[in-house]
């Protein structure tokens, strides 16, 4: 029963998203543009040989996968959750017989996974057309669960961060900074191996790498199944954190109001 309280809104959110064909076309078109541009840049960069251990073909699949992981997410999620908390909209959700944080996590994960399911075949066509099949079949297969985990970790962490708006009231700037951390330290724009040693070690220890770098490196043929376990670990951490922050925030709203 409790599971259904979460799967039902997630399924409904997914169906609503699929019904918005224009929105999906728009997301897919942006994904195509950004993937083609970045993959083109990296292919040009590898014209005289591999960069940081990646060939042009590997980097093309790297970029196509990393972009799918980030384009599947609503980039302004932190801001929108913060607005709902500040405007009091979240208090209406507290009337439901389910934890607000849990339902929101389920809904956003459902949406993001649906977008990902739409972007995956588009990305496969881009990669295949540009450089042929993925460098490694095992890597390509493992990249699918890695992408799903990447999206789930990203959604959970954004909820954990956005929950701070129960206390700070203004998280509008946070989404912008969060996004840039995923861009650089998450390996969305460039593989972590390109970073200077110190920065690479820092980035490897942070959760952002689980959101783009892990599935992208896997799809590029550098298979390390242990990285998926790292993603699973971060997922547990941020789901627990998000539920705890939202739980505490709900109690605060009940005690002191909006």
């Amino acid at each position: 029963m409790r599971g259904r309280r979460l799967t039902a809104p997630a399924g409904a959110a997914s169906r609503r998203l699929l019904a918005d064909v224009a929105g999906l076309v728009s997301v897919s078109a942006f994904y195509v543009v950004v993937s083609v541009v970045l993959a083109g840049l990296w292919r040009a960069a590898t014209a005289h040989g591999p960069v940081a251990g990646y060939t042009g073909r590997e980097l093309t699949w790297y970029i196509v996968t990393a972009e799918a992981a980030t384009c599947a997410i609503n980039p302004r999620l932190i801001e929108e959750i913060g607005d709902d908390v500040v405007s009091g909209a979240v208090t209406v959700e507290m009337l439901r017989p389910a934890a607000v944080g849990g339902v929101r996590l389920a809904v956003e994960t459902g949406r993001a996974l649906t977008r990902l399911a739409v972007l995956l075949p588009v990305g496969a066509v881009i990669g295949w057309t540009a450089v042929g099949p993925p460098p490694d079949a095992t890597g390509a297969l493992l990249a699918v669960p890695a992408l799903a985990l990447a999206v789930a970790v990203n959604v959970a962490m954004q909820h954990a961060v956005a929950g701070i708006s129960f206390w700070l009231r203004d998280t509008r700037a946070a989404w912008f900074l969060y996004q840039k951390l995923v861009f650089i330290l998450g390996g969305m724009l460039l593989p972590l191996e390109v970073l200077p040693d110190v920065l690479r070690h820092v980035a490897s220890a942070l959760p952002f790498a689980a959101m783009a770098y892990v599935p992208a490196r896997t799809a590029a043929g550098h298979v390390a199944p242990g990285l998926l376990l790292v993603q699973a670990g971060w997922l547990v951490v941020f789901v627990v954190a998000a539920l705890a922050v939202f739980g505490a925030g709900e109690r605060r709203l009940q005690e002191v109001g909006t």
Binding site: A22, G23, V25, S26, A29, F30, V33, V34, V36, V37, G40, L41, A44, A45, A47, V51, A52, A173, F176, L177, K180, F183, I184, L189, L190, V194, L195, P196
Partner: protein
Amino acid sequence: MSTARVLRTALADAVARRSAFWAQIGVMILNDLAWVAFWLLFFHAVPGVRGWDARRVLLLYAVLTTAAGLALGLTSNCRRIPQLVSGGALDDILTLPVAPLRHLLVRRVDPVNLGDGLFGVVLFAVTGHPTPARIAGYVAGSLLGAALLASFLVLTGSLVFVTGRGETSSLAMNAILLLASYPVDVFSGATKALLYTAVPAAFVAGVPAGLIDRPGLPVALALVGATGTFAVLGGGAFTLGLRRYTSGSSWRSH
């Protein structure tokens, strides 16, 4: 009310909430620093790409942020035409004795994007090796790039008068800004041709930045011509679209 006075009022309104104004500018500067970090890291790993190195890309980025800051900051409604049209917000403008498009464009100033412009100026001052000739090229190039960007956004935003939807405009803005932020020589064939025609991203930053390094009359004339063409197309599309605008009876609650 003159266009300059409307712009002054919009600026005063944006600056009135002083802490929010500076916070938004600061956020945009941090965003731009992240992109500069990306390019420095990229060229740390790759010595050069088709004749482009870190210095040339930073010059391109200085022009792009300045042009985008001017277009999306001072004439920020150029990106909001679909929302304004579908929300019926043109009604009150059409009752005024002013040129609707010009008034609409300067009526709102966006502090976030002013941060972009400020960043571009500082980036050029620090990395652009400013000399009087280069400063003149940077100012002229940025102004033309801004005018072209705003015109392109008005043109694509005016499609809402026909289609009734704003997704195309949003996609067009993201696409032109994204494409303008990369060295144009990365692209080839049909994609490169597209950047000089239908989605004129090359003229927003790449061509003006090239003119700062290597001034030349034919390229400068091409830039002026492209800007003029898109200004005419944008203004014409908006004016034609106004004939179809019929939202006077829409219900709103604000």
